[in-house]
């Protein structure tokens, strides 16, 4: 079985380098919007992400948040990336504003079992010291994809 790489899951249209949201709720909605689901699916998914945040913030520190959940609203693993230039109060574990957001949503049943490995890879990637600078330098969605390819994450 070949090792999975993050680059294979991201597409340009699910990357937004200037998030407009100013609050946690706004950013969650904006990230869900990048998945291009129908309106009702978006609403259910947003509610599920909100419930997940209530258990403990997905802001893991260093300006990174990885909101995630399983939901019937997707039939395969879906991911998105967003960057907020001004930062958002996200109740992160280090109490700092979050600027970099990875949304990860998986169906309830996943034969390929990629949800936790992808979550783990994203978390691992974001813990690297140089990543904040690299995320800040991104000028386009293509840059983000190229970064993942370069890091072979």
């Amino acid at each position: 079985m070949s090792a999975l790489t993050l680059a294979e899951f991201f597409t340009e249209d699910a990357i937004k380098l200037v998030l407009e949201g100013k609050s946690k709720d706004d950013v969650l909605r904006e990230l869900v919007g990048l998945l291009r689901l129908d309106r009702r699916s978006e609403e259910i998914l947003y509610k599920m992400l909100r419930k997940r945040e209530n258990l403990g913030s997905t802001g893991i520190g260093k300006g990174v948040a990885i909101p995630h959940c399983r939901s019937l609203m997707v039939n395969r693993l879906r991911v998105a990336f967003g960057r907020s230039p001004s930062g958002i109060e996200f109740d992160a574990i280090d109490s700092k504003l979050c600027k970099y957001f990875f949304l990860i949503v998986a169906p309830p049943l996943e034969i390929s079992n990629q949800y936790l490995p992808v979550l783990g890879k994203v978390a691992q990637l974001c813990k690297r010291d140089e990543m904040v600078k690299r995320f800040d330098e991104l000028a386009s969605a293509q840059d983000f994809l190229a970064l993942l390819q370069e890091l072979n994450a």
Binding site: I44, I66, C69, N75, P108, L116
Partner: protein, 116 residues
């Protein structure tokens, strides 16, 4: 989409989350990734809140199916139930697409949610 179905879907997703967190191995994996899940008891509160908004009949149906299946609700994509992967009869599929009532798969009995 019918409101009861939306709530049932949320209930199923919450139950899936509860199962994930109940697994010590999965819980530890989340912690290793850097997630602090320090309010896990809220999952039960969230489930109870959704249950309160459900009709008794819908909730009973869900519970009865939950005894048989880990996923009592299945999505339907292009006429195929993703619970049992059987193609729904065309006439039935057309009917439930237009209906606001809860529908079930004629083969596996799961509550179904038509995606496309």
């Amino acid at each position: 989409m019918e409101r009861q179905l939306e709530r049932l879907i949320l209930l199923q997703d919450l139950c899936a989350l509860k199962r994930d967190l109940a697994s010590q191995e999965t819980f530890e994996q989340f912690e290793e990734m850097g997630f602090e899940i320090d309010r896990a008891e809220r999952i039960e509160q969230a489930i109870n809140e959704v249950v309160k908004e459900l009709d008794e009949e819908a909730y009973e149906m869900f519970n009865w199916l939950a005894e048989k299946y880990t996923r009592p609700i299945a999505a339907v994509h292009r006429g195929v139930c993703y619970g049992c992967f059987i193609t729904l009869p065309t006439s039935y599929y057309d009917r439930i697409r237009e209906s606001d009532e809860l529908a079930t798969c004629e083969h596996c009995g799961r509550i179904i949610y038509v995606v496309d």
